[in-house]
Amino acid sequence: MNPEFIDINDFRARMETLRRTGMNFLRDIIGMDWGEEGLGAIYSLENTSTGQVLQTAVRCCDREKPSIPTVCDLWSVAELYEREVYDFFGIHFAGHPDMRRLYLRNDWVGHPLRKDYNEDEAINPIRMENEIPEDVQRPYELAEDAEMEISDKLTNKIHGDQYIINIGPQHPATHGVLRFRLALDGEEIRKIDIHCGYIHRGIEKMSEKMTYPQILALTDRLDYLSAHQNRHALCMCIEKAMGIEITDRTQYIRTIMDELQRIDSHLLFLSCAAMDLGAITTFIYGFRDREKILDIFEEVTGGRLIQNYNTIGGVQYDITPDFAKKVKEFCQYQKGKLQEYNDVFTNNIITRKRMIGVGILSYDDAISYGCTGGTGRASGWACDVRKRHPYALYDKVDFKEIIYKNGDCYDRFLVRLDEIVESIHIIEQLIDNIPEGDYKVKTKPIIRIPEGRYSASVEGSRGEFGVFIESKGDKSPYRIKFRPMGLPLVAAMHKILKGAKIADLIAIGATLDYVIPDIDR
């Protein structure tokens, strides 16, 4: 799909019109460096009621001081997306309330995804001194004889005399290395400031130097709990671009694997949510059952957590002869265990008190923040990519999209539990009918994608995972962009956290179910 290029002067007016006409879901903002033609961004929009999809693009010719009007008042999620683009491309978004770097350190030199970025280690060495927060003034010396004074002058992001506390980057409840700066009033949270980038590995920049099969290896490490789905998305995108028809057998295998991965991820979600709320036994139960899926993965793909299974044109290896038997055994086993989780955790009075009515995300906010996946569906938004834009075999199988109305922590939790049941249901429809045939079609030894822009998205374990490739016809992409599933969820945090307590932050963080390497890429 080619985006509609808008002149920078009309850009703001056009986006406002689009927003008014029902383009209420901003899927992604893709920062671009078109070299001589300037810097810019591609906006991927969707109308959630009609399903109409549209891409717009804007270009700014000034490479020294690029500036584009902001859209973060139209779509709330744009606030973080625009900070990301600013961080990577140095494009300033005029009118953005908080134009800071999102991923890299404040003292980072240059904007790495620009084509003219200087990767010299000497410019950006490993800085071992602590980062000075942007809202705290740098320390200054008074005089030779006087003592050094550190001023904690705070800007408006987090107010002065509030109790400021850091959660993360190394904290048991952030599921990785996310960092929140909280301003507290007693136990209540007044403001939250999100710092990402502690696991930013620059996958998108690395990909620009790699061939397509090499990039495949990195997708598994984005969100390791939807490793399979991530790779599925990229393979799908490349296959679409090259016009490769994949066999039915592959489609079956991919769909079953995707769903197994989803169950795996949701079991881990259950475990971690339980642990964050303090129920450690449930954590172990989830892991115990998750091992059964990992056994199946290991037998077929050779990998437990990271499978490296999908490949362009098919899958890496054929399934093992007793794959179907093992999967069916697992499905039976897992169905019985769901009741155990309910008994020990879900129906516990404390769990319900901790989650019901806590951290409510409204329907409109869910769309405005682009919170896809279980979080969106808990708020009543039917955002399942498997239903909206079916891929693989999802238009052939019968399954229910789980939708809850309240959008609180408990609903977010239940959505995932119910989705385990639906995933088992999908697997059971497919597992007996895997057709014979090749598991992989022959592709050319060197894969080149014809010039153009391609995108594909799949329903990952925690939302819509999208891939965007701009190709110039080379072995490696000119620009590749992965839509993170977790970034919109984190963006919505400060909305959800209105009036919450510290303990609620933990419950909300657990049920939003983000994975940090996926946010940071």
Partner: protein, 358 residues
């Protein structure tokens, strides 16, 4: 039932016969302190081992297996390690209070521990307001926790300490009410007499409904006093990393760790003393031969058996339940437990006055 006071009196007389009375007293004090601390440490080690095995059993795991047979020596390894681990002193902390806090916590729990009647006559402190003393001694443990949080110069510790202050002081009230209803039933505050009064029937049976309600409330409040899940907010692992003892390392942390387990033992010990008859054996009136057999089992076994049963109950709860939120903790106490406790005390008094007890 064997009376341990015969042994202690014999030792006392022997010391007095060979030493001047002041010196004899001193030696006795040292002996008693040694025994108490030794028992304290041994029980702590047993408790830690038990906790690991119990939690492993609930979680489909095996728990410690490799250090000694069935991992029996695991806790000793932990203790050795902890003893020689560096104790970090924190910049900008209140040094005196920071170093004092763990000792306060341990002191409080050792003091309370010494009031527990392990068997007839086997008790360090026993005087006519023993129950009152237990409550006083156990409640200054919160001071240690508050000081630990305050003096560490750490924001997590601070929040943990303030939480624990709010929680422990609130739940003290419920414990008091429950103990009061037993005192109303028995008419004494001396611990040895409380236990002796249960020789014919434990208070939980004699006081029937009000005693049972008091027992349940006591277990809930006692669990909160020991800062264990679902009331482990002061050290909520997933919220405040390690809560009030975040900055403590080495044996200072070890003191908090041990004190937590021993407080659990003390809570369970008091529960078994007040409600389950302490060291008195199970007697069912009418079954004389059964009662005689029960009498052959020593009092220490009865006491420890009952106590470890209560501990096991509390561990079951600890490994099953999620954590409460601070406002829920406080509202549970002030909106539910205290009113029910007060009403229960009233009913108990009424029962005693009207003679509706067994």
């Amino acid at each position: 039932m064997f009376d341990f006071s015969t042994i202690t009196t014999a030792i006392d007389q022997f010391l007095h016969s060979v030493l001047p009375s002041q010196a004899a007293l001193l030696v006795e004090c040292i002996l008693v302190a040694l025994c108490a601390v030794l028992a304290y440490v041994m029980l702590a080690i047993v408790m830690i081992f038990m906790e690991r095995k119990v939690c492993a059993a609930f979680q489909c795991r095996l728990g410690p297996m490799r250090v000694g047979p069935w991992g029996l020596l695991q806790v000793f390894a932990d203790v050795f390690k902890m003893l020689i681990k560096e104790i970090i002193s924190i910049k900008n902390s209140d040094k005196v209070l920071y170093n004092l806090a763990p000792y306060l916590v341990v002191m409080s729990s050792v003091l309370t521990f010494s009031c527990l009647p392990f068997a007839k006559g086997l008790q360090v402190l026993d005087f006519n307001i023993g129950v009152f003393f237990i409550m006083a001694a156990s409640s200054f443990g919160v001071l240690g926790i508050l000081l630990a949080g305050w003096s560490s110069n750490n924001k997590y510790s601070m929040i943990g300490a303030v939480r624990s202050g709010a929680q422990m002081i609130s739940y003290e009230l419920s414990i008091g009410l429950c103990i009061l209803s037993i005192v109303a039933l028995s008419g004494t505050m001396q611990i040895s007499e409380l236990v002796a009064a249960q020789a014919d029937g434990w208070f939980i049976f004699r006081g029937h409904i009000p005693a049972f309600v008091a027992f349940i409330i006591y277990l809930i409040a006692g669990n909160a006093e020991t800062n264990r899940a679902p009331f482990d907010l002061p050290e909520a692992e997933s919220e405040l990393t390690a809560g009030f003892h975040t900055e403590y390392s080495g044996m200072h942390f070890g003191f908090f760790y041990v004190a937590e387990f021993m407080n659990l033992f003390i809570v369970a010990g008091i529960a078994s003393t007040l409600f389950l008859g302490g060291w008195t054996p199970l007697h069912i009136s009418g079954f004389d031969s059964f009662n005689t057999i029960m009498d052959y089992i020593p009092g220490v076994v009865w006491f420890l058996g009952k106590t470890f049963f209560v501990i096991w109950l509390l561990m079951w709860v600890r490994w099953t339940f999620p954590r409460l939120r601070i406002d829920q903790v406080v509202s549970l106490e002030w909106k539910y437990l205290v009113p029910i406790g007060l009403l229960n005390l009233l009913i108990m008094t009424l029962c005693v006055v009207m003679g509706w007890t067994f």
